[in-house]
Amino acid sequence: MSALDAVRVAPSTNPVSQSVRDSMVVAKRNLIRMSRIPEMIIYGLIQPIMFVVLFTYVFGGSMQIGGSTSAEDYKNFLMAGIFAQTVTFATASSGAGIADDMHKGLIDRFRSLPMARGAVLTGRTFADLVQTALTLVVLAVVALLVGWRVGSDGDTDAGRVLGAFGLLLLLGYAFTWIGALIGMSVSTPEAATSSGLIWLFPVTFISNAFVDTSHMTPWLRHVADWNPFSATVQACRELFGNPGVSPSDAWPMQHPVWASLIYSLLIIVIFRTLSVRKYRSATA
C-alpha cells in the first residue's frame, strides 16, 4: 500500500504566484486538449477565410468607401473588420468549452481542489488567446494572398502593424471573458455555442467593420461609432495605413487606439469579476 502513503500537500504559497501557476497548469491542459481536436481549430479558420473571400469578391465591387468604389480599396478597408470579427468569435468556443467542463463535472473536480479561484477561467482564456493568435497569423497570410497590403492609404511601419495585432489580441482576450460568463451561465455546451454567437452578429455588423458608417441613418451611426468593436477596427485601419478611417466626431473614432485599449480593459475587468464570482458559486 505504499502508493497510498500520505503525500504532503505543499503549504499555500504567495496567492499571486499560486494563481499564475494554477492558471498555467489549466492553460496547458486546454492547449493539449486543443491540439488533440485539430478539427476545432480548422473549423475556426474556415469561417473567417470564407468571409475574406466572400466580402472581397461579392461585395468588393459595389461598396463605397470614403467616396471610392474601387474593389482594391474595399479589400484593404475590409481586412481590419474581418480580423476584429474573427477574434471576437473566439468568444463562442471559449463559452462552449467552459460549459462543457461544467456539464462533465470537471468544474466540480477543480472546485474541490485547493487551487486559486480564478485559475480555471484564466487558464481557459489564456489558451483561447493562443488559439486566437494562431488564427490571426493564418488569416493575415490569406489576406496577403488575396491582395491586402498595409500602408495602402497612409503611412505605417512594423511597429504600428504589430500594435494593431496587439489591440486585436487584447479585444479577443476581452471577449473570451464574455464567453466565460456565458459558459458559466448556461446549462449545456450547445446553448453556449448558440447564445455565444447570436449577439455577436449585431455587435460586429452595427459597426464600421464592413461598411462606411456615414451611409447609416444617424442614430445607427451613433451606435456604430460608440461600439467598442468599432474602436478597435478604426484603430487597426489607422495603424495599418488602410483606407476608410471614419472622419466621425465621436470620441472613440477620434482616439481609436486609446478607445480600443480602454474598452478592452474595461470588458476584462467587468466580465472577469462577474465570471469568477459565478465560478465560486457554480452548480452543475
Binding site: R8, V9, A10, R21, V25, R33, G105, R109, P114
Partner: protein, 325 residues
C-alpha cells in the same frame, strides 16, 4: 470530540425545494458512513455542502477538524472527491489528468509526475496511461477518477455513487480499493442507491429521505429495527397450504402471510436455526412435502421499504440513465 466528518442542521433550499432539511451526521475517524436514499433525497447535495462546492443556507460542518464554512480552502487540502460522473478530461491521457490534479493540489511538477505513475500502477492503468481517456471503458474511467481523488492521500474521502452504472467485475474491483483505503485509516462518506453496497462497505448507515436523515445505525441495527427473522416455506402441493399454515401458526410470532399462486407461506419468528429445524420436523411428521424452506433475515431493502414507504429506486431519473443493478 466530533468525528472526521461532522454536520449539524444542514439546510439548503433551491427555490421552493428544500433539498436539505436539517441533516446531522457524525462519522468517526477511520470509518465508512453509507449515505443511502432514493434519488432527490439529498445525498448529493449533502456531499456538495461538505466538500465546499455548495454553501448551505444554515447549519455547520466540520471536516478533518476544519470548519467547512470558515476555511473552505483548508478543507479542500484535506479531502478527495470522486463524483457521480467520472470527472476526468477525456482528451487528456490518464497520466496527464493525474499530473494536472497533482499540480493543482500544489505539488511540484516532478512530485506530481511521480505520484501519477504510482497511482496508475496501483489502479492497473499503466498500459492505458498514455492514451486519451475517451478511449477508456467506463470502469477504467471510474478508476482514474478515484485515483485523481487519491492524489494526495487525503484523510477524508467523499464518493458520490462510485459504482453507479458499473458492471459487477468493476464494482468488485472498486470495492476492494475502497476497503484497502479504509484499512489504511481513511474516513469515507459514500453515497449509494445500492443497499447491497452499503451493507458491504459501510460501518454505519444513514438513510436519507426528503432532505433528512430518517434512520441511522449499523446495518444489523437497522435490520433489527425493521423486525426479526422469518420463516419462508414453499409447499409442493397447493392443497397442503392450510395444513402448513396451521403448523407455522404454532411457531410464529405474528400473522402468517400466504402467496397462494407461489404456494409460499411466510411467518415472523424468533429462535433462529434451531426453530427452523423444529419446523421442518413438524412439517415432515404431518407428511407435508416442501419444495423450499429457509430462515430469512430482513435485507436493507426491507429496511428501506419500512422506513420510506417505497422501495429503493434503481432508475437514475435525474440523469435519464438506467442504472445497472
Amino acid at each position: 470530540m466530533p468525528g472526521a466528518i461532522y454536520a449539524e442542521g444542514l439546510v439548503k433550499t433551491f427555490g421552493d425545494v428544500r433539498a436539505l432539511d436539517g441533516v446531522d451526521l457524525d462519522v468517526p475517524e477511520g470509518t465508512v458512513l453509507g449515505l443511502l436514499g432514493p434519488n432527490g433525497a439529498g445525498k448529493t447535495t449533502t456531499v456538495r455542502c461538505l466538500t465546499t462546492l455548495l454553501r448551505p443556507d444554515s447549519g455547520s460542518a466540520v471536516v478533518a477538524g476544519i470548519d467547512v464554512l470558515k476555511h473552505p480552502d483548508a478543507v479542500r487540502r484535506s479531502i478527495g472527491l470522486s463524483g457521480q460522473f467520472a470527472a476526468v478530461d477525456e482528451y487528456l491521457t490518464g497520466r496527464e489528468n493525474l499530473q494536472m490534479v497533482g499540480q493543482l493540489y500544489q505539488m511540484r511538477a516532478k512530485a506530481a509526475k511521480a505520484r501519477a505513475a504510482e497511482l496508475l500502477e496501483q489502479f492497473d492503468l499503466t498500459d492505458a496511461a498514455d492514451r486519451p481517456t475517451k478511449t477508456y471503458s467506463g470502469g477504467m474511467r471510474r478508476r482514474l477518477d478515484l485515483a485523481a481523488a487519491l492524489v494526495v492521500s487525503p484523510p477524508v474521502m467523499f464518493m458520490d455513487e462510485p459504482t453507479t452504472g458499473l458492471d459487477p467485475r468493476n464494482r468488485q474491483m472498486l470495492w476492494d480499493v475502497i476497503k484497502r483505503l479504509v484499512s489504511g485509516g481513511t474516513t469515507l462518506l459514500l453515497t449509494t442507491q445500492y443497499l447491497e453496497e452499503a451493507d458491504h462497505l459501510a460501518h454505519d448507515i444513514a438513510v436519507v429521505n426528503h432532505g433528512r436523515v430518517i434512520a441511522k445505525g449499523t446495518s444489523d441495527q437497522l435490520k433489527a429495527r425493521t423486525g426479526g427473522e422469518r420463516v419462508e416455506v414453499v409447499v409442493h402441493e397447493r392443497e397442503d397450504i392450510p395444513a402448513a399454515s396451521e403448523v407455522l401458526r404454532g411457531f410464529g410470532k405474528g400473522e402468517t402471510t400466504v402467496e397462494d399462486h407461489m404456494r409460499q407461506l411466510t411467518v415472523p419468528v424468533t429462535g433462529g436455526a434451531k426453530l427452523l429445524a423444529e419446523v421442518i420436523r413438524e412439517l415432515d411428521t404431518r407428511g407435508i412435502e416442501i419444495d423450499d424452506i429457509g430462515l430469512r433475515r430482513p435485507t436493507l431493502d426491507d429496511v428501506f421499504l419500512s422506513l420510506t414507504g417505497h422501495v429503493a429506486e434503481v432508475k437514475d431519473e435525474e440523469n435519464g440513465k438506467e442504472a445497472v443493478k
